[in-house]
Assembly symmetry: C3
């Protein structure tokens, strides 16, 4: 239990364990299955389950009529068997009656099309009717279960993600803009409304960026993205305040979708007690392990410490075109990788695979094949593993000396309708740079660009299209103070209003990076590769005139840019004007890390092996299908096998060792 | 004329002939062309034409004002020249005034967009206003022409195919659901509404599956597909009853689109006197001949005997991206193939190619090139051929000992938004299996899974995602009684409510097929091939644990499934867990057929030659561009050439022989 | 100044110069930037700028409240510095208040979706409210600046291009149809409404071709395209009349998008004093130089003399997927090419690159890099070049002996939903044929098919799907009178109502071209090539029966058409039934030109060098990246370098010589 007066944390829920469990939807099953469920949960070492996420229509089948009996029985049953509950407010899926009585609660898309009930997330976040009804049901749930002994955590709503362009949204957007800008003149200035004659005389004239004849105002779209994230955040905070009032010692979370475009997760994280995330890498993606690592690094950075893996799939999902299951061992590998990278909870959607509904082909801890299925056997193995490492791992922290700067506003700004190249996707660039560091085995955090960077010796900026003046000043200062910087293209182009900086790129950054004149961008076509002498670049190239004192680390070797710098170095700052192929980008970052004195987690690691230090432990994970022997200096005990490991550890396919120094 | 008291049949229209003709739309032409038309029709041996399909606005130019004069003249003219009439109710294309006066008669799509007049099929089948107006015009047409001596058949509407998500549809859907389920609770149970909190408190809350934020409830969509087929069927039956009342001896049909997703043609066929179909294989498709054969087999099975080819193209259609004409001889080949496979009518859209309108580039029996065009020369040749074979072929039947099970509800169920693989398309799988049998020259029927299968020694189930308990019991019983079964993947997964069977596949089927545990599906990516040792599989693979007594006929040879069965055999049942490449699937089915004692139509046939027995006749068809000599034991007379054929027949490119035993 | 009583022309604005400048939007910039602008304009030799295009909201921030102060200051400032003004009516982008007060002014698309404000061109051209407001603001602008000494030209609206399917459009469409047809019967006949039963009883029943269930009536769509062009033209003419009334001596233009589908530019040009165009070839397209030439030839033909290049990009645009800048020299090359082909004005969108708004990544004469950027250096060079050649080039004319027939109505007619091949795109075919002539260095005009063709010895018809009787008669007469004709496929198929001609192609044309029977079209699949013996055809092939006296110049060599003519010759007419590969089509046209006595602009030119004669001058342009020496008989002075050129000129990469005979 948390100290009175200070907000609760994940530790108040884990209580020294790694939580293990999943979404549990017993309303889909007859009572006799509940009994089997708790038996199998105990067999698998499940510590906790998430309950009630989609239960609004069950709890309140008609306006104001509430039925909690089944949930009372469930909470008691779980508690009886020692299983904790992460209890959700059920506001992600309003009952059909809400949309029928209050059509304004339904979202409307940018083309004016209503999103009807019959799915989920059919709520307009700015709708006063929705907010009123959501607050009432949250209040009822909180009041009833605040003191239930099974309660471990509150889970607000689910994967907040709606955009709404309807009339309630228009009204709220006007209010949000009035707060931001004060006068139409200030708004017109920020939006550059003079372009194409879009100036507004009053706030009443403003609309969400609905369907238009041609390109819409990018600053309007940027602000609408900010507004949309804020509207959802208001919904979250309203419900958080309700449950917190009833149960001040119980931590509150909402589950992010990883690197989700619609929410500024830096801002959101500040309002959560626990940062949690749902992650669904594609088992068919050969680089999925790195993706999973990136999400872990990002979520840990948002949490500032241990975080919660709220949802993953035991096997296949059902929403891709082709949905592969996880081969033997992969579920375990990625679960332990999450713990290695800071997770104190390893959970799933969902405990038992549904027989009906839109996700009945989404895998679960107990699959359709039942307890004899391969899936459940792996579930039990993971539960046992987590129990073994929990006491040494839970609550511990880790730190990195390298950091990747990342910002939703920069992403939102860059994703405009008309831009130099639609092939440049922020998330792909971010992932390419993280992959380079991951394959170099260099531990890395993520940070908001305006965050204090003093702890980091290597600062990596894959791409930050827009940056505030403060962020630029801080970054420049940190580099001047000795940090090594590696900066990718399309960085520092605009200010926070999406106003292009004089010269086409911020002058302070140009000076830092040694760019005298940025003449032209030369984006590359699909599949085109720019010959840079020692490597090939993709996606982008640039016609830049270096400043005196800057030198080309690599130069374009042919074409219109022949002889111009591809990678420019100026002091301890490097500018990379293309996206180098993976090995080349890795090499660039290895060089920079070496120079900055930033070391990999372990020396001599093969490419497919990941090593991560957390607290006292060293996790070694084999992402390959071939067994491998990894040198590990010193003597350790492998917590998973309870065997001693000297100087080297042998890992089978997808094998993991969790090494505790002896 | 049919026996009083029993419903009329196709024989009442054919009267011992193979009908030959097409849609005839003289309202597009001046009177002088009508005269040329009947002259050319007689020259071509046309027996009958379909009239009035799109004549509503012509007959009733404004509400209640009717003009039948032109149609009276036309009917008389045709009768005078001995040409029969298939007379349509013109309800597929309401006049502009109907939509203008009653906007509710216009369909609305799932995004809420109205489908306006100015095309065709702009009617909402559940609209009371539409139904009232359609009944009135059908009544007027029936009353006027019931006793006309030219009348051979009634043709109701045209290619029924509208989906409607509007408010009339919503009301009717609620009524349909109330009839089906009685209470909201029963509906919630059938739909698994507990998932994502979609439970309905009253039927009034239910909508068609309109646009939603994310995945919609698949059971709701399945029921909406059932409902939509039923709404159209209600429209058909209402008009059928009207014309039948006026002319009890005249058979009634409506023309199906082949393997059309929107109509449960098994159910519809029960309500027709004549089963007819429109088929438009692509001349550019090298396997179009097999497609045509499949549609013929399916339509014959629906009809339970002779059927009517209501529409085909003499040459090119106009709705594909690239529309190829039929090369010399192909129209004739496919026309005779249809007769071989049971058609007693070979008709076209349309008699004379339109000069105006949306289908003026669709070919016709008389093309834009006129009577000197290659098209009309082939038309005349086909007319003459049909006249030669009609007396021996018309009304005869044929039977097969192999059967393919096919069901619309299984198709509807399988086509859900989120599923293991969107690459798996039911119709493609069905076609692949039929192709294997066609290339093996094995005669085959189609049957509904709940149909009596006693007549068949080889039962083939390409894929039946959902099956009723009765269908499963009957299938198991038939196999236990000695039939050979070959069953493809994704069969028996769900019950008729789309509820996944325990274990992920029906236990009775698993026992029959020798599957102990179905661990995981491993759908294959686009272009991926699974090495199965002696062949390659596509689309799908599976991780199954065989039961004792089952043995692998083929096994996966590499990858995660190496060593697991790809084709499993258990007694006289085989389970095929992938889609083998064409030759391999053919080989599998040839083995099974041999074992079942099912023989090809003729021995020693080359791949491109099709042989079909119908009544006393043996049709031999060369689908190849090279001449071929085909051994045919015994002595026959070729009805087309009136020559004697001993032991072998020589067929030119696209050549056909219709052999009558001497 | 123009002679009183005759309309003004471009010469009234150029006054012996080649105009050089661009769109200038000072409302986006603070006053101090204006001062820098005029300094840089003078440095660059700018003669004139286009002002006010998107200034409505700035001039009239709320209904009836007008603020001209800033524009007064700007006009005076420009005039003070000797820079002329092309002044726009700002009606392309109404202020937000107009849509808010009068929602009917917003366009509605064919799916019923509103196009909201927040972009540009959000006006419904048939809306009476829009027209009233547009007339008022045009009146105010014209009244205020008619006599301003800086005023050179009026620029009405901008890139007219809206389609509207809303209720105002429906009303206006009915009126337009009533004018065209008089009675519903005549309309039904023209539209072939009998097809699919679409007959209209009154004009009130008619809608724009909105979303429908299936294919819409192509004649209705064709008329709607005519109507839509006419509605926009009515808007243009109304504003033109207003400004002309205030300033009779000032020429009026509106800027076309090149080869834009929505405007019949032949008709529009008749109503303009100056024909101007915006052209944006893709620098990444290796054939962009030819495209630019084609647009120049077409615009010159519309203007009947000198024309205005209103907009081009100094470097990259921002609306393509990948936007390449122009490499060093390309902007200059294409600018001088435009002058070579008749332009008397070389202008840009825009003068100074915007920092905000939807097109801030669109290049400009002064780019983000500013006056040190490569872009501005090239701007200055072009300004100096134009000043050098202006006195000898401005106002001069040129003529060709070859002509390409082109017609919007034929294009509109051909672009129907259902057609033989959707791969056949009119604009691509047109461009392929122009490219053949361009690569053959043959000067060419464009002409409307009903235009007098007496001046031309070689008539080229790439594709004219529909043709009027008059046009056919004139074409036949011209060929009978001795002109050489080369005619592509899909020509003369339909009359002006989109009614297919008897025989599938007009009989007069068939006779002229030597086609006895047109049996079938055989469109080719994507990537398919038809072997024609000496070359390959693409896109299309045909089964034609030649008339006696016609001979095959080339024949299909394999496939179903083996032995049939691919290119047919009959007297001095050739029919090309496929799209030959580029070299083959060039060869065909070279042969025809030689026979017609039509010579290239210069003999012995390499492929990448373009030569054009204008007035006394010979322009020689190197489109290649390698230097080249071009033989030029005689002695000339190169106006650009002021050097003498004897017998040959050496051109660097992208180099140009403007040769004046000595």
């Amino acid at each position: 239990m948390s100290t009175p007066g200070t907000p609760p944390t994940l530790a108040d829920a884990t209580r020294g364990r790694i939580l293990f469990g999943g979404d549990y939807n017993p309303e889909q099953w007859p009572q006799e299955v509940w009994e089997e469920d708790v038996r199998l949960m105990k067999e698998a070492g499940v510590t906790s389950v998430t309950v009630g996420v989609f239960s609004w229509a069950r709890i309140e089948p008609r306006p104001g009529v509430r039925d909690f009996g089944w949930l009372d029985r469930l909470m008691d049953l779980l508690h009886t068997h020692g299983i904790g509950v992460v209890l959700a407010t059920p506001t992600a899926s309003p009952p059909p009656w809400l949309g029928r009585l209050h059509p304004g609660t339904l979202p409307v898309d940018e083309d004016g099309r209503t999103e009807w009930w019959g799915s989920r997330q059919h709520f307009a976040p700015a709708s006063p009717d929705y907010r009123r009804a959501a607050a009432a049901i949250a209040e009822a749930v909180a009041a009833r279960y605040a003191d239930h002994p099974a309660l471990l955590m509150w889970h607000i709503n689910n994967e907040y993600c709606t955009y709404d362009y309807g009339d309630d949204a228009a009204r709220a957007f006007r209010g949000w803009l009035t707060d931001r800008y004060g006068t139409p003149g200030a708004l017109n200035d920020a939006w550059g409304s003079a372009f194409w004659g879009q100036s507004y005389d009053t706030f009443d004239e403003i609309l969400p960026p609905r369907r238009a004849h041609y390109l819409r105002n990018p600053a309007q779209i940027l602000d609408f993205r900010r507004f949309s994230s804020d509207m959802l955040l208001e919904c979250f905070r309203a419900e958080r305040d309700i449950v917190r009032r009833h149960a001040p010692g119980i931590p509150v979370t909402t589950n992010f979708m990883p690197l989700f475009f619609g929410q500024d997760a830096w801002e959101w994280s500040r309002h959560e007690d626990v940062v949690s995330v749902d992650t669904y890498p594609d088992p068919a993606d050969p680089h999925a392990g790195q993706y999973q690592a990136m999400i872990a690094d990002m979520t840990r950075s948002q949490a500032g410490g241990p975080w919660m893996l709220m949802e993953q799939a035991a096997g296949a999902v059902s929403w891709r075109d082709v949905n592969r299951p996880k081969p033997e061992g992969l579920n375990r590998l990625w679960s332990l990788q999450s713990v290695a990278r800071g997770a104190d909870a390893v959970c799933y959607f969902q405990w038992r695979q549904s027989r009906q509904g839109a996700e009945k082909f989404h895998s679960a801890m107990v699959s359709h094949a039942g307890e004899r299925g391969r899936g459940f056997l792996e579930t039990k193995r993971i539960g046992a593993d987590l129990a073994r490492i929990g006491p040494r791992a839970a609550g511990t922290r880790q730190r990195a000396e390298a950091v990747i700067l990342h910002d939703w506003h920069a992403w939102w700004g860059s994703a405009q309708e008309a831009r130099p190249s639609r092939l440049v996707a922020y998330e792909d660039v971010l992932r390419a740079w993280h992959r380079a560091l991951w394959e170099a085995h260099i531990p890395v955090d993520f940070a908001h660009p305006a965050q204090d960077l003093d702890a980091y010796r290597l600062v990596v900026v894959p791409q930050l299209y827009l940056l505030s003046d403060d962020a630029i000043d801080a970054l420049v200062a940190r580099v001047r103070a000795g940090a090594t910087l590696v900066c990718g293209f399309l960085t520092g182009i605009a200010d926070t209003d999406d106003r292009v900086r004089p010269g086409g790129m911020d002058a302070r950054l140009r000076e830092l990076l040694g760019i005298d004149v940025l003449h032209e961008w030369w984006p590359l076509a699909e599949g085109e590769r720019a010959d840079c002498g020692t490597f090939h670049g993709t996606l982008w190239s640039e016609e830049i005139q270096p400043a005196p004192g800057a030198r080309a680390v690599a130069s374009y070797a042919s074409g219109e840019l022949a002889g111009l710098p591809a990678v420019l170095r100026h002091g301890n700052a490097r500018y990379v004007s293309t996206l180098p192929e993976p090995e080349a980008l890795r090499g660039l970052l290895e060089d920079a890390a070496r120079e900055a004195g930033v070391a990999p987690a372990l020396d001599g690691l093969p490419l497919q092996v990941e090593a991560v230090r957390r607290g006292p432990l060293l996790f070694v994970l084999n992402h390959g299908r071939d067994p491998v022997t990894v040198p590990v200096p010193g003597t350790h005990r492998d917590l998973l096998t309870d065997t001693e490991v000297r100087e080297a550890v042998r890992l089978p396919r997808f094998g993991v060792a969790v090494l505790d120094p002896v």
